[in-house]
């Protein structure tokens, strides 16, 4: 049994130790917001937070996260209203939408450690996430809008 915390809840799992976290989330916990894109850590669709740090879950064995805190898109905010989620909607960011969970998780991790990133810092933090629909300009604008505001990840999503 592997014990860990997912979106604030304690979870005990009986799965193969080499199972990537992505498939534990999707196939065992029914958390479908985290997406499969490449299986090789190349596209970022599967990005989650591991103890607050943006991490590719498709190449992360479950055994490596025993006892640690995972956050998925479902746990990013209480009511799906994280400032970034609201900015995403306001800027009409998603197109097909498939990569957006991963994009949001990368952006949220960036802003939690760097409240006012420069454009270059945004590019660096986000360049691991592919969007085939080309929503990058709007993702950047949404991040910049939240960064310019009084973003505080500790206050439950109020800006």
């Amino acid at each position: 049994m592997i014990d860990l915390t997912v979106n604030g809840s304690a979870v005990s799992l009986d799965v193969g130790v080499d199972t990537p976290v992505l498939w534990v989330l999707r196939d065992h916990l029914g958390l479908m917001g985290t997406k499969f894109g490449c299986g090789a850590g190349l596209c970022g669709a599967c990005t989650i937070h591991l103890d607050g740090v943006a991490t590719r879950s498709c190449i992360l064995p479950i055994a490596a996260v025993a006892g640690r805190q995972l956050t998925t898109i479902e746990g990013l905010s209480e009511s799906a209203d994280h400032p970034l989620q609201r900015a995403w909607v306001e800027h009409n960011v998603p197109q097909c939408g498939y990569c957006q969970s991963g994009q949001l998780m990368s952006a949220a991790a960036l802003l939690s450690e760097n409240k006012q990133p420069s454009e270059t810092e945004i590019d660096q933090a986000m360049s691991g996430n592919i969007c085939r629909c080309g929503t990058y300009p709007r993702i950047k604008r949404a991040i910049q809008q939240v960064a310019v505001g009084h973003y505080d990840p500790q206050d439950g999503g109020q800006s």
Partner: protein
């Protein structure tokens, strides 16, 4: 069956029973049977709409939502005529229904940037009919003259009284359909033309949007397929002993020329698939190589036999004629949708249900039925949100596979392709070669000769589509012969080249079909994706040879009042054409596809040898923009998609084996590589035309032209290697 708009509305019965509402965007569309089995009391004025007694308005989305925003656009169009806020409309993805077919294609197919263009009037009429019946019902209920009534936000108003739509549905459902329904004058539009936010945005930011890969059925298992490493390979035998020892693996079975590994989840299935040892007969792929294909294309560029696809004016001989000849080529490309191909299938007792993102549910139904030897009526297709389409999900091979596996193991299964499966088993944008010659006489007369060599998409793709159009008893030979008939002048091969907009004294465009054994398909903007590169680059070559400004040269040869000319003039202003700092270089291109004309200017900067794409200016004439901001998103999207292809896109084949496998060797543009993109929409009150694809074609030539301006080097091969 060809249905007139009148006929469509007429043929929809007001049944007085309805479909159950409350299925939100995240669900998958079900069958048309729901129309006759819905909740009693709902009002169904036509195939698209339902209004419940509590006032909920439901809209059947009969085209695939793959990011292009049609759910929002359709809701706006219907909401406009119904006088109902599109953001309050409940969206449901439609099942298969004859009334949802594209009247030109005969299929319920999403492609050709046609969803809004082809359904604008239809959806307006659907909304207007419903509103008209509700007004009539209100007139009866209030004993008022219909001319004294008005509608707003889901209510009928009369003097100081108002009645919500829901309260009128029982009465409205009993009224005969009107012969003719007036549509609103565009001057009164409230929702059409407004940049309302995407109706599916919230679900796509909180992880709840349901794509095909997210569908779960009871007792479902997960399948992966082990396929031949090369195109057309045959399975000789396999050994699954080790694979079967993996915890969670339930079945390893042969399905056609593949081995299906079926397990309790993706990981055990994938892990076990790696332990299956299989032997393949790969002789079919021998000699199918990119190098061989291009050598043959090269040979055919000067072959005597070719189909003339356009010939105008007479070739001329003059003294001091300047002659310019160049050859171009474009590679195979993968679609690389972010969501790899997948489908859920549940086969039981001679019936099968299949859930998947797809661009042609009736093609899928027909192919699944044929593969499983069932009647079409025994196959039900549920269309989900698509994690990208770009033309890939027109071909339902993955849905057929899922259905076959489910039947083989007699269990509901979700088939998931790996990224590597997806890259190696695509229906690729065809590779193409072109050779052009321009002759300019001393009096300025211009002769344009263009020979294209490439495969016929129709030869490969039309037979399966035709099978779905024809009755199920029609023999496959019938549809094959249609495909072959269409192949010699395949419009998808010559589009964008035959329609050269420039007025030259002599135009000669010819095509040679060369279709190697490589699976090919529709790729965002199809033939335009390579032909605009060829045509708009060579125009630049001619202008430069004549020492003329490339933009002015184009204008000089375009009809002054044409959309092309007007867009070029506007993009000239937008981009400050010709007035740039010394280290900034510009390239321009203009191209029409799917009824929409787009002009783009690319600004690049040179810091020493290093090239950087700084800015792209884009202007689009797409008729009336239903949702201007969504038009802008499609142009941004297309520009980034095309820039990815221009710099990185190349699938190469060696003896039938695709050489690329994942995003490390088939890279995508990333955020740090994206230029500033400025988009304008030409104001227009003309009928809307498509926006999903037309932003793609002008980008590559505008980029190549900018590179020429910067370096003097002409890039005639895609992708552009710097």
């Amino acid at each position: 069956m060809r249905t007139t708009r009148r006929g469509l509305i007429k043929s929809m019965l007001v049944t007085g029973t309805g479909l159950s509402l409350g299925v939100h965007l995240t669900g998958c569309g079900g069958s048309s049977d729901q129309y006759s089995h819905g909740k009693k009391g709902d009002f169904l004025p036509n195939a698209f709409l339902s209004i419940s007694p509590s006032g909920e308005v439901g809209l059947q989305i009969h085209r695939a939502e793959m990011g292009q925003g049609i759910t929002t656009g359709f809701a706006q169009i219907v909401g406009e005529e119904l006088d109902f806020d599109p953001r309050q409309i409940k969206i449901e993805f439609a099942g298969i229904h004859p009334e949802f077919q594209d009247p030109d294609v005969g299929l319920q197919f999403t492609g050709g940037s046609n969803s809004v263009a082809g359904n604008y009037l239809l959806l307006r009429e659907a909304g207007a009919t419903a509103r008209h019946l509700l007004l009539q019902a209100a007139a009866k209920a209030l004993s008022a003259d219909i001319s004294a009534l008005s509608t707003r936000d889901g209510k009928v108003y009369h003097e100081t009284q108002s009645l919500a739509y829901g309260r009128l549905v029982a009465l409205a459902a009993k009224l005969p359909l009107p012969d003719r329904v007036p549509l609103k004058p565009s001057s009164t539009f409230k929702y059409i033309g407004q940049s309302i936010g995407r109706v599916d945005a919230q679900q796509k930011v909180d992880g709840s949007a349901q794509f095909g890969i997210d569908v779960v059925q009871q007792n479902m298992l997960t399948a992966v397929l082990l396929r031949s490493p090369s195109i057309g390979g045959l399975l000789i035998d396999y050994d699954a002993a080790e694979a079967l020892r993996v915890n969670g693996v339930k079945h390893v079975v042969r399905v056609g020329e593949a081995v299906a590994v079926v397990a309790t989840g993706y990981w055990p299935a994938r892990k076990a698939a790696g332990l299956v040892s299989a032997n393949w007969d790969e002789s079919a792929g021998k000699g199918v190589s990119t190098d061989v294909i291009f050598v043959e294309q090269q040979r055919l560029l000067t072959a005597d036999e070719a189909e003339v696809v356009r010939e105008e004016g007479e070739p001329f001989i003059g003294s001091n004629t300047i002659t310019l000849t160049a050859s171009y080529r474009a590679p195979h490309l993968a679609h690389a949708t972010m969501e790899p191909m997948n489908a859920v299938a549940d086969y039981r007792d001679g019936q099968v249900r299949v859930w998947a993102g797809n661009q042609g549910p009736d093609i899928a139904r027909d192919m699944v039925a044929r593969a499983l030897e069932l009647d079409r009526e025994q196959v039900e297709i549920f269309t989900c949100l698509l994690g990208g389409g770009f033309g890939r999900r027109v071909v339902p091979d993955y849905m057929v596979e899922a259905a076959l596996v489910s039947k083989a193991v007699q269990n509901p299964v979700k088939l998931i392709w790996s990224r590597e499966d997806d890259m190696a088993n695509d229906y690729y944008r065809p590779s193409h070669s072109s050779r052009l010659t321009a002759k300019v006489s001393d009096s300025g007369k211009l002769s344009w000769t263009h020979r294209l060599v490439g495969p016929s998409l129709y030869r490969q793709q039309l037979p399966t589509s035709m099978q779905a159009v024809l009755p199920s008893w029609a023999p496959e030979a019938a549809s094959n012969s249609v495909g072959a008939m269409m192949a010699s002048k395949d419009p998808t091969s010559i589009e964008g080249a035959a329609s050269l907009p420039y007025q030259f004294e002599h135009i000669d465009v010819s095509y040679v079909e060369h279709t190697p054994d490589v699976p090919i398909g529709f790729w965002r903007s199809v033939g335009h994706s390579q032909n605009a590169f060829v045509v708009e680059s060579f125009i630049d070559e001619v202008a430069n040879k004549l020492k003329q400004d490339p933009l002015s040269f184009r204008l000089a040869h375009l009809e002054a009042q044409s959309k092309h000319a007007k867009l070029l003039q506007r993009v000239q202003q937008m981009s400050n054409w010709g007035r740039q700092p010394d280290d900034v270089f510009q390239g321009v291109a203009v191209h029409e596809s799917f009824g929409t004309v787009v002009a783009e200017v690319v600004n690049i900067s040179m810091a020493g040898e290093k090239v950087s794409v700084e800015e792209v200016f884009c202007i689009v004439d797409c008729g009336r923009a239903i949702n201007p901001d969504l038009v802008v998103t499609q142009m941004q999207s297309a520009i980034i998609f095309a820039l990815t292809a221009a710099f990185y896109g190349e699938i190469t084949i060696k003896d039938g084996t695709i050489q690329q496998s994942n995003f490390h060797d088939y890279p995508m543009l990333r955020m740090n590589e994206v230029p500033t993109i400025t988009v304008e929409i030409m104001p227009s009150s003309a009928a809307p035309t498509g926006v999903g694809e037309p932003g793609v074609p002008p980008l590559a030539p505008a980029l190549a032209n900018a590179l020429y301006a910067a370096t003097g080097e002409r890039h005639r091969t895609l992708p552009i290697r710097l």
